[in-house]
């Protein structure tokens, strides 16, 4: 399967997915760590992809959504942004509701 199709399946097949360096338990980048922590604090399950373990996704994710950096956080199939936007949405209370709505809408 083409890598962009693979990414598309992950993005559309999960209510919430974070592409990060490392894992939520063992993050390998401070920005990925903060974004994953914000998602965890919302207490809604989410998927993650460790881009350091998947060179093909690491190389190609930036062109999937025309976003140059990691982490990338997708909710309900849409890129919401990177670390800064995720933290802002968490701080202003929107993130949990977005994640809950996405989880409810999932098949």
């Amino acid at each position: 399967m083409d890598v962009l199709e693979r990414i598309d399946e992950q993005v559309k097949g999960n209510p919430v997915v974070i592409y990060m360096k490392g894992t939520p338990q063992f993050p390998q980048c401070g920005f990925s760590m903060r974004a994953a922590k914000a998602l965890q604090e919302c207490e809604v399950p989410f998927a993650y992809v460790n881009v350091l373990q998947d060179p093909e996704i690491f190389e190609n994710l930036p062109r999937y959504a025309d976003w140059p950096t990691f982490p990338q956080i997708y909710v309900a199939g849409e890129l919401i942004g990177g670390c800064d936007i995720t933290l802002e949405l968490h701080a202003n209370g929107e993130l949990r509701g977005m994640m809950e709505r996405a989880a409810r809408a999932a098949p």
Partner: protein, 105 residues
């Protein structure tokens, strides 16, 4: 010209920011301190009015695309309208009024 200066010029030209702060944070990361790889940008601009955060960040990513393609590895972005910035407790220093000195020879 270093990367910080190039970023400042590009953003000033494009956004006419009321406040702009560009910080080289490379020293905080696992790279040589002079890497110019990790930057934080605070930009306060009327250009962000009516734009969702993701569109503001896309705009900055596009403006700084040449830097991102050339060793700029991490870009932390804080992008606010003047009203949002004030509501967050930030202050935008006001410039002093003209006292006419430039007219006095």
């Amino acid at each position: 010209m270093n990367r910080k200066q190039r970023i400042e010029i590009k953003l000033r030209d494009a956004l006419s920011p009321a406040h702009l702060d560009v910080v080289d944070e490379s020293y905080m990361h696992a790279v040589p301190a002079d890497s110019e790889s990790h930057f934080k940008v605070l930009a306060v601009s009327d250009a962000f009015i009516g734009l969702p955060l993701i569109d503001r960040h896309r705009r900055l990513n596009q403006l700084l695309d040449a830097e991102l393609q050339n060793g700029l590895h991490a870009l932390t972005l804080h992008t606010w309208t003047p009203d949002e910035w004030h509501a967050k407790g930030g202050t935008t220093p006001t410039s002093p009024p003209c006292l006419g000195g430039s007219q006095l020879g």
